[in-house]
């Protein structure tokens, strides 16, 4: 197989503009090497020898090429403590603020959607036990939801391989998991039982609506794959699933600015997050 020739300056610009408009991921000449590698990979996989033909395929989204290209640019694998700066933001800024808004005895509700095979909602539980000093003072309810019921079964089972645990210290693994065969670990029952799993379709208002309202939603690494219509609807569904003043965290390559004007953007020390305005607020 002959290597595709390097992209010309104009070709690179065109591709970057397409990606920027479609996903908000911003690359330029300075990232040429990184972009070129991924485009070459996709051109090889689609059998397109020339950039113009590949770009036409991409624009027409033939064979789901947009998703394929996004996949090439993002990490599709989920793991414990992924993007932990958001977890830090959760315990340092978001939860103290939400807790102040609660009546005595009222639960703080957190939704991990999509949760895939469970690493994300379990990470939230684990992080809070380790890093939120007030965790004992409140009832915290964590729900993990996904459209993929096989992923949900795996989440429920709570068995993980080495790669999923790679960001956890040996001490955390030791304290919260038990070995369950070669290269397998099972999460402790206490933790397993602290997350409730449900199936959901993010673009179905009745389906998201059935989950009630949350203080914090983690919706990471899924909206980037949706088209404009689905993103808009999913964002509206999530807005509806938040209490006024509640927060949504997106993946680090994602931004609400491409999706919906419903939320106000907030900068905390550790992360940019989006907030459903409190009632009567002008934001």
């Amino acid at each position: 197989m002959s290597e595709a020739p390097p992209l010309t300056g104009e070709e690179l610009r065109q591709l970057c503009e397409f990606l920027y408009r479609r996903t908000g991921m911003a690359f330029d000449e300075a990232k040429r090497y990184y972009v070129q590698r991924r485009v070459t990979e996709r051109m090889g996989a689609t059998g397109e020898g020339a950039f113009p033909a590949y770009f036409a395929r991409l624009r027409a989204d033939a064979g789901g090429e947009v998703e394929q290209l996004i996949n090439a640019f993002t990490v599709n694998e989920t793991y414990f403590y992924r993007e932990d700066h958001q977890l830090r933001c959760l315990s340092r800024d978001i939860l103290p603020e939400r807790a102040r808004a609660k009546a005595p005895g009222e639960a703080i509700r957190i939704w991990s959607v999509p949760c895939a095979t469970g690493e994300e909602p379990y990470s939230i539980a684990l992080w809070l036990l380790e890093n939120w000093p007030e965790v004992d003072a409140y009832d915290v309810e964590i729900v993990g939801s996904d459209i993929d019921t096989r992923a949900l079964e795996a989440a429920q089972a709570g068995l993980f391989g080495r790669r999923a645990l790679m960001r956890l210290s040996p001490d955390l693994v030791e304290r919260y998991f038990t070995p369950a065969g070669p290269e397998r670990w099972r999460i402790l029952d206490d933790l397993r039982e602290s997350v409730r799993f449900t199936s959901v379709n993010l673009v179905e208002p009745a389906s998201t609506g059935a989950h009630g309202r949350f203080d914090v939603v983690f919706c990471r690494n899924v909206l980037i794959y949706f088209d404009d219509a689905s993103r808009r609807l999913a964002a509206e569904n999530l807005y509806d699933a938040l209490v006024p003043g509640g927060y949504i965290c997106l993946g680090h390559t994602e931004s609400m600015s491409r999706i919906s004007p419903l939320f106000a953007v907030r900068r905390h020390a550790d992360a940019i997050v989006y907030q459903r305005p409190r009632e009567g607020s002008r934001d």
Partner: protein
């Protein structure tokens, strides 16, 4: 603008070729340029990295230029007072009034010649030629 750190400009426009046209003019005049394609993205970028000047289109997806300026101007943060040059295809008197009310410092009707853009940029950044 030859000494010190270059002044930073955020160009907010949904049209890629327009952003490129402004960038071309501003970079040649010594500014450092960043881009956003609508008002929401601009707000987000300003929270992370403030700039010295905004060049803002009016009609954009998700958040138009006037709403952007209104939201920006009432933030309780230093970025709230960044000077803004609005460039738009809408030339009517009610549009000018809306721009002023939203907090624009200057209002230029498109197409804006590149040298006109840099003159106004210089004025608003306090380094007039």
């Amino acid at each position: 603008m030859t000494e010190g750190k270059p002044k930073r400009v955020l160009v907010v426009d949904d049209a890629a070729l327009v952003r490129l046209y402004y960038r071309d003019a501003l970079e040649r005049a010594g500014y450092a340029v960043d881009e956003a394609m609508n008002g929401l993205e601009a707000l987000e970028k300003l929270l992370v990295a403030p700039v010295d000047l905004l060049v803002v289109d009016v009609n954009m997806p998700q958040m138009d230029g006037f709403t952007f300026l209104r939201v920006l101007r009432r933030q309780d943060l230093p970025v709230a007072s960044i000077p803004a040059l609005v460039t738009t295809t809408e030339a009517g008197p009610q549009d000018r009034a809306a721009a002023r009310e939203a907090g624009a410092n200057f209002y230029l009707v498109k197409p804006v010649p590149q040298d006109v853009l840099t003159v106004y940029a210089g004025l608003l950044c306090g380094d007039a030629p």
